[in-house]
């Protein structure tokens, strides 16, 4: 029965999966930009850093379902609250890791770079960022796993993605194909999470300089 379900609805499933995946990926990309921006601004000031970390900690405490509920009123249903919620939660682990990652760059390395005449921005992009990147990437992986699940909950606000299968299966409980619907939703999210994690791992392999690679 599950097999029939898959075959019959393959188009729908594929589409929803694709939407789910791109929601997550795009939100992650946006989150990385936001997190890095904030991190660049605060990492050299300890008080600001700890405020940022504190906000991150508090943010992670907020239940995603609650946040979606809160956002339905101002943002309505559909894509908007989903993107907002997913991006919001994605930022938090990345921000924390970015601050820590930038903090691991030895001050003397930065000094020598400035000493040979590199500008502040150039040092940031060619030295500090690449060194912090492995840790940031770890944060991205954590975020990715986390928001894969959150994106599913976002379907409650009629957002895009595989969550729809879960909720429609729920609402038709006992009815035809309701279980299959939910299973497709759950397994689909797991599979997407695995795929994304592998992709990110691969990205890490490609982009992390061998000099600082951590061997697993």
């Amino acid at each position: 029965m599950l097999w029939n379900f898959l075959v019959d609805r393959w188009g729908q499933i594929w589409f929803a999966s694709w939407q789910h995946f791109s929601l997550v990926v795009q939100s992650l990309a946006l989150a990385v930009l936001i997190a890095m921006l904030i991190a660049f601004l605060v990492y050299r000031v300890p008080q600001l850093s700890s405020i940022a970390n504190g906000v991150s900690a508090v943010g992670l405490t907020i239940p995603s379902f609650a946040l979606i509920g809160l956002l339905i009123t101002p943002l309505g249903f559909g894509v908007a609250p989903s993107v907002f919620v997913v991006t919001f939660f994605a930022v938090l682990p990345i921000l924390r890791n970015a601050i820590v990652g930038l903090g691991t760059v030895d001050r003397s390395v930065v000094e020598s770079a400035r000493g040979i005449g590199m500008s502040r921005l150039r040092v940031l992009f060619t030295i500090e960022f690449p060194i912090a990147w492995p840790i940031i990437l770890t944060g991205v992986r954590i975020s990715a796993q986390m928001v894969m699940g959150i994106a599913a909950v976002a379907a409650y606000a009629l957002g895009p993605g595989l969550g729809g299968f879960i909720f429609s299966g729920l609402s038709r409980l006992g009815g035809a194909n309701s279980l299959e619907s939910v299973v497709v939703g759950v397994v689909g999210v797991i599979v997407l999470a695995l795929i994304l994690d592998l992709l990110l791992l691969g990205l890490g392999r490609l982009t992390i300089s061998r000099g600082i690679r951590v061997s697993h």
Partner: protein, 269 residues
Amino acid sequence: MTDTLGAETTRGETALAEPVRGDVPGGARSWRGLLIQPIVVALILAGFVVWLATAHLSPTERSTLNPHDLLAYTGQHLALTFVSAAIVLVITVPLGILLTRRPFVRASGVILALANVGQAAPAVGLIVLLAFWLGFGFWAAVVALVVYAALPVLRNTMIGIQSVDERLVEAGRGMGMSALAVLIRVELPLAVPVMLVGIRTALVLLVGSAALATFVGAGGLGLLITTGVNLFLPRVLISGALLTALLALLVDWAGRVVEHYARPKGLQA
């Protein structure tokens, strides 16, 4: 799922070569930092109560938001959270300890991978899926929540124990302590800080996920959210969301307090 640079907790804290540490502004050392959270929560809660008493609410809203029901929902929510937490602890802490013992180290990879999958599954999906099998109600939700929250506790237990300096274990055995004595008197006490962070993370995760338990008829504050959506009652919706968030913050704070006081003296990092 391969492990990252150290501890990876989904809703967790920094993943570095060091296992997750509590990240309170001011650090675990300063109890003053611990005061901010409950004060803020109390203030917001007070504001909410005031608003509830004085705002112009429609009859339906009034009836949904009556204090008696609110307390009931909160009670259900806490019950879901703590019963699940207790079960998670009973299962994963011994399991985590077991998996760090030498004969089982290879099994740990497999088990961790399984637990990882449990975490990758969306909480709502797990809850609904298990409801199909176990029927609606409190216990079905609990089972799903246990599966979902197992990973942080398991992982932090294992990492906490593994992070104890090998030489201390050697010193203990060298003194004539049995392997069990070393586990109980050296490894576990030193692993407690990290384990407690994992437990706190799991608790917060559970509060958030327990909100989804309404979908399978287990009650809880999530009911306010779904009612608010279904009946187009935005204020009920916001109330539910707000109360859930506040509860999560409160549980998080309670966890930090326990962490602070349960930290073995002499380990104040």
